[in-house]
Amino acid sequence: MTSANLNFTQRRKIKSNLVDVTIKERNDDFIRVALHMDSKALSSVEGYRLVLDAFDRGQHERKVISNPADQDFDFDLFPIDANLRFKIRQVSSGIDTGRVIAATADIRPVEAEGQTERKPFIVPEIEDLGGLPWQIVWEGDIANPKLVLNSRLSEHFGSWHHPALQALYLPSMVRDLLSGIIARHESLEDLDEDTLGSRIIEFCRVSFDPAMPSTPFHGKSEIDDEWLKWIEECVVSFSETKWRNGKSLMDQMLESGS
């Protein structure tokens, strides 16, 4: 089952690159959050309210947004160290009141001191792999495979994060990483937090918002079909995401070659 199947009221997606959620302050009484939204993010319909939902471990707090361009909110339900995620919903208040007109995927906030809560984790080690461009090594802790990029490639392009090089290896590496993790574990719960396996799956869930299958992975003998579809959806979204300067990996690769 995919997101498209579920969206029977044609809810629109609010693109995350048009929304900025920053945590300005944390103290014992509240967590202060600044919201900035581009007006292009909203559907131009009459009769709606805009809400900012915050979540952490079974708790939810909602704020009504009156000035999407620039507004601060104090959330007082959560502990000082809450690992918050947010969602913005544009909800109809007209004749079909309660219908969600548009919504974001989960938003992980940026901390005011400049550190995002999401740390980079697809960082390959550079080794001589002979004729292989890249490799995932599944020895040892299978939740933490080693990602390796051929040193000849990084030398040729000047860096492992050269856009043309990343466009070549990242989508395939993400596909193999997801498939490998899912084939080697029985369920999501077998993965400890902070492992590469847990983080890549969480990253895809949060960034791309595909409907996650409710079935277990099933492990090595047979990956559940729904999970294969989920992986495909993640890889397509990954390839199409505008990562830097509003450009996808492919856009950047073509641009760097012209």
């Binding site: 089952m1 997101s3 579920l6 969206n7 029977f8 009221t9 809810r11 809400v51 939902d53 979540f55 952490d56 471990r57 079974g58 708790q59 939810h60 909602r62 502990p79 160290d81 690992n83 919903r89 909800v91 309660g98 219908r99 969600v100 919504a103 999501l188 719960e189 993965l191 400890d192 937090e193 847990s198 409907a211 409710s214 079935t215």
Partner: protein, 253 residues
């Protein structure tokens, strides 16, 4: 007969001692992956529990007064209610030493009894809080406290089970979209809870493939509804009206 003593917490050294003791008991018994726990004798359980009385491993927590170690709880709901009254400050949420100590003083109620007289010692995170996103809700005592504080009497939906049981219902309901929405909790009480017998209705915990099951509501139906409707602003009755017909079966059950 009551046995009220001051509330304590394990120091870091004390938590380590509890952890090592649990590891040692589980290692010696070669616990199989996927099993419900490791059988231990009542003497071993008493020795583990006795760590809570060792002055070199614990320290006082003056803000919480006294706790009755002799209380026997009818179920996790009763445990949650008592702990919510006794441990009243939200700051306790992050106190690993406190929750480990509470687990040890009520340990005999947190171990599943077996027919051969032994008790099942479960994974460490049932007794020592683990902040991992995948494990934090598996602490038996703390989660009873957390859920009761959040939902008070409505917590009966989750906690009408023996103190040592971490039900599949609790496990499946940890998704933020479910546990954080009181309207969904009200709906689930109406659909799935047998008020006369104070237990969940038979068949509620069936697999996701079974029409009308709780798992199906949590994993398939509610994400679909959330995508299209603002369930946080809809009453349980209103949500009930847009539920698929498969859930009507519980109205007569």
């Amino acid at each position: 007969m009551k046995n009220e003593i001051p509330v304590m917490r394990f120091t870091d050294k004390g938590i380590t001692e509890v952890r090592l003791t649990i590891e040692s008991l589980r290692k010696e018994a070669h616990t199989k992956k996927g099993s419900q726990g490791t059988p231990i004798s009542r003497e071993e359980a008493s020795a583990l529990s006795a760590l809570a009385k060792r002055a070199d491993l614990v320290e006082a927590v003056p803000e919480f007064g006294e706790i009755d170690t002799a209380t026997r709880f009818e179920n996790r709901l009763a445990m949650g209610e008592y702990l919510a009254k006794t441990i009243s400050a939200g700051t306790a949420d992050d106190d690993k030493g406190l929750w480990t100590w509470i687990s040890m003083i009520y340990l005999d109620q947190l171990l599943a009894p077996r027919s051969d007289g032994t008790l099942l010692l479960a994974s460490e995170y049932r007794y020592i809080p683990d902040k991992s996103r995948l494990r934090y809700y598996r602490h038996l005592a703390k989660m009873a406290w957390t859920i009761f504080r959040q939902y008070e009497n409505r917590a009966r939906l989750f906690l009408s089970i023996p103190c040592h049981v971490h039900s599949d219902f609790v496990e499946q309901s940890q998704k933020d979209d479910v546990r954080s929405n009181p309207n969904i909790i009200d709906l689930c009480l109406e659909l799935f809870y047998d008020e006369d017998n104070a237990i969940l209705k038979k068949g509620v915990g069936a697999s996701v493939k079974r029409e009308g099951s709780f798992r199906r509501l949590v994993s398939i139906v509610s994400p679909q509804l959330y995508m299209n409707f603002d369930l946080y602003e809809m009453s349980a009755d209103r949500i009930d009206q847009i539920l698929p017909i498969e859930f009507k079966q519980w109205k007569t059950a």
